[in-house]
């Protein structure tokens, strides 16, 4: 309080001094709004500081520091992606492999859930009775059961696929067994990843070119089609790099063989292990229901006149949806959609229940092996917050593009 008396405005100070009794001085202060503000926050701040000291005091008794993460991990991971990890690497490496696994399942999940959600959202508004009811049933059933139950359900289901010796092959195209689902994939020689990188670069270049050309076309001449030119650019880049890297593409079909010991071995193809497939299916289906509802709500909030006008102009259903409805609905879809993406990423931590080694499961293993629970929690928190921030950032950029008038 003395602190405030020193810093208070001079007008109040003179008034404060002129009052003689201490009671009047106090009542003057209490009636002053600024003083009340200061006083409440001051008390709150002291309380907070005490709590902070208490927590720090308790925390200092625990094991702190990240030193244990540099030593040998000693546990293997059933799934590694991009980076090679084995049990002789450091725990940091294991944690990093876990982060990659989380990003992998979240990224694929986000893409698939968005596609599913948009289709189901459109289906919920379809005049076709059957399609409408399928979509409604999907939302009502999947949304109201716990995600964990669904994850376990998919895992049980995938483990009930036949043994590898009796694997379903669907005409030799893929291998479905309780070891996982193996799908055919186009594979290439060792330059494959470089080529796909160049393709991605080419795609970005052609998209930038397209938007530039559109701007040029509006301002100057109307002689060419920007779509065609940018597509042509992309194809040229793809073909040139294809021959420059001397690429060979082949169709990689998974197959089952028996080796000399009589054990079954499957080879080739794109592998979906039961764990990965279970967590992916469950996340996609579960998040898909929420995206369905978001899409439906956003489209329903558009004035009906938009659809009617599009019909009056003679646009067909596909044109109506892609040119009129979705671009407008996207503006109100994207903010809640971002929330669902964040939820999906956080929900991927439930893979701990089926032993898919995501970042949460790896940190739990480290905690069990080496203790140091509190620093690990801080690490988990920071990782998830970073992932959330990245998703929010990307979605904000998209949102800015979408809400721009005339885009």
């Amino acid at each position: 309080m003395t602190l405030y008396v020193v810093t208070m405005p001079s007008s109040l100070f003179t008034q404060f001094k002129s009052e003689d009794s201490i009671k009047k001085k106090l009542s003057l202060l209490i009636r002053n709004r600024n003083f009340r503000r200061f006083f409440i926050q001051f008390v709150f701040g002291i309380f907070l500081l005490l709590l902070f000291f208490y927590v720090v005091d308790k925390a200092l008794n625990l094991e702190l520091g990240f030193g244990h993460l540099s030593s040998r991990a000693g546990f293997g991971l059933s799934h590694t992606f991009i980076i090679d990890y084995n049990s002789n690497d450091s725990r940091w490496m294991g944690y990093f492999a876990g982060v990659i696994n989380t990003i992998r399942v979240s990224l694929v999940g986000i893409v698939l859930a968005t596609i599913l959600g948009i289709f189901m959202g459109l289906a919920r508004l379809s005049p076709n009775f059957l399609i409408n009811k399928i979509s409604t049933g999907y939302v009502e059933f999947i949304r109201n059961t716990p995600l964990l139950v669904q994850i376990i359900f998919w895992q049980l289901l995938l483990l009930q696929l036949p043994h590898i010796s009796k694997a379903l092959t669907f005409g030799g195209l893929s291998v479905w067994s309780n070891r996982g689902i193996y799908l055919p994939i186009i594979s290439s020689n060792e330059n494959g990843s470089l080529w796909s990188l160049i393709l991605l670069l080419g795609l970005i270049i052609s998209l930038i070119l397209r938007s530039r050309l559109f701007k040029y076309k509006e301002e100057h001449v109307d002689l060419f089609s920007p779509n065609l030119i940018s597509f042509f650019t992309f194809v040229v880049i793809a073909i040139i790099s294809f021959f420059a890297l001397s690429m060979k593409l082949s169709f990689n079909v998974p197959e089952v063989n028996i080796n000399q010991h009589g054990t079954y071995i499957q080879s080739g193809g794109f592998a979906l292990t039961p764990q990965f497939a279970a967590i992916l299916f469950a996340l996609v289906l579960y998040t898909g229901t929420f995206i369905t509802e978001i899409v439906r709500g956003s489209i329903q909030s558009l004035p009906i006149g938009q659809t009617e006008a599009a019909m009056a102009l003679g646009l067909n259903t596909y044109q109506r949806i892609t040119l009129i409805i979705l671009p407008q609905a996207l503006r109100s879809i994207i903010p809640p959609l971002t929330n669902q993406y964040l939820n999906l990423t956080k929900n991927s931590s439930l893979s701990v229940a089926i032993a898919y080694p995501d970042l949460f499961m790896v940190s739990r293993t480290i905690m069990n092996n080496a203790g140091h629970a509190l620093p690990m929690f801080v690490l988990i928190l920071i990782t998830y917050l970073t992932l959330s921030l990245i998703i929010s950032l990307i979605m904000n950029i998209i949102n800015r593009r979408v809400t721009r008038i005339g885009a």
Partner: protein
């Protein structure tokens, strides 16, 4: 002819419609045939044998009366509030009754048939009473009584579970623990959430900062992480008073779920606060009402009224999330559903059947709650 027209317009209007209809029919046929053959080919004695285990976990037989008492109190309160507050149409009430009957019938044993019949009879009487008092002079008093009973229901449940040397908390389990955890989370999380929302909307910079950081940090990490924190770290941070430092795992789950729920509820209520026009507050100030009374009597009631449906869906989300307490080794419904096919010889390998029962129970309760939320939404005209 009308029917034919309807079919043609609905299913075969355009080429796209034809394609979608055919795909849809195939899809429905596939799903229905799989589900029906699964239902017909499995052995459902699993439910009959394990129904009590699923409902109450490892609660000893002589303590079951506590659960029945809670059950009957809740169902009586529920029926009277439905009949008192909601407009009853026959279709809706049949829907509710059927949904509530399914778990009831599944879990009724020979010894408890009388109990169930008695509860049903009393519930019907209260249903009628609620319906009658809707238009009588006692309307306001009854409304208040119902409201107060809802608030004190949870403490009473706790009392019933603990008086006369009740069972240890670690013996609580089954579907009961899911319901209790969810109820506690919302009961404790709601006031805390209101405070946090007000804090985040307040002009006091420090309070605003603290509330914002709290909400964002809690929402930043998944619930399983917080539950694991409760398992490893929480006891070390609690003061060594009244045995607080070695509280049992159920209480820890309650604390974490409440704190977790409060952050989400705070965000929901903040949305409600933002949607209240500024004029309400200004008008209240102009009338000479001070800022605390303005918040409590003018702004908050309107904000909460708007967000009730969203709060209910948060509640449903928390209820579904209670299945995550598996990480604390609490024997909740899901855990029991997974243990049965592993430990009972008669049901080895029946994991999908067992899981289906678990899913069905969660689904029924969530569906009833979401129906109630939809009814409230309609009634409040939001």
């Amino acid at each position: 002819m009308i029917l034919l027209n309807w079919i043609r317009e609905n299913f075969f209007g355009t080429k796209l419609d034809v394609a979608m209809t055919i795909t849809g029919v195939l899809f429905i046929y596939f799903v229905l045939s799989t589900v029906i053959s699964f239902i017909l080919n499995s052995d459902w004695t699993l439910i009959m044998v394990n129904r009590q285990l699923m409902l109450t976990g490892l609660m000893p037989q002589e303590e079951i009366w506590r659960i029945w008492t809670i059950f009957s109190l809740t169902s009586i309160l529920m029926t009277i509030s439905i009949s008192f507050w909601f407009k009853i149409n026959i279709k809706g009430s049949i829907f509710y009754i059927l949904l509530l009957l399914i778990p009831f019938l599944i879990f009724t044993t020979k010894n408890t048939v009388l109990y169930v019949l008695l509860i049903m009879f009393i519930s019907i009487v209260f249903f009628y009473l609620g319906h009658r008092s809707k238009n009588s002079k006692l309307k306001n008093i009854v409304s208040k009584i119902i409201m107060i009973s809802w608030i004190i229901l949870l403490p009473i449940c706790f009392l019933i579970l603990n008086i006369l040397d009740g069972p240890k908390m670690t013996l609580w389990g089954g579907f009961m623990i899911n319901l209790i955890l969810a109820a506690i989370a919302i009961f404790a999380g709601f006031p805390l959430g209101i405070l946090l929302a007000l804090g985040r909307a307040s002009s006091y910079k420090l309070i605003k900062l603290v509330s914002t950081v709290y909400i964002e940090v809690i929402r930043g990490a998944p619930l399983v992480a917080w539950l694991l924190l409760a398992w490893f770290v929480l006891p070390k941070f609690l003061p060594n008073l009244f045995g607080l430092s070695d509280i049992n795992i159920v209480v820890r789950a309650m604390i974490v779920l409440s704190l977790f729920a409060s952050a989400y509820i705070a965000e929901v209520i903040r949305g409600g606060l933002q949607s209240i026009p500024k004029g309400q507050e200004e008008a209240s100030f102009a009338l000479g009402i001070n800022s605390i009374s303005t918040t409590i009597f003018i702004v908050l009631p309107q904000a909460i009224r708007i967000v009730i449906p969203t709060v209910v869906s948060t509640f449903i989300a928390i209820f579904k999330d209670t299945s995550l307490v598996f990480i604390l080794a609490i024997t909740d419904l899901l855990r029991i559903g997974r243990l049965i096919p592993e430990q009972q010889q008669a049901f080895f390998g029946k994991s999908i059947e067992s899981l289906a029962v678990v899913a069905l129970l969660f689904w029924v309760v969530s569906l009833v709650l979401s129906q109630i939320s939809r009814t409230i939404e309609k009634k409040l005209n939001i």
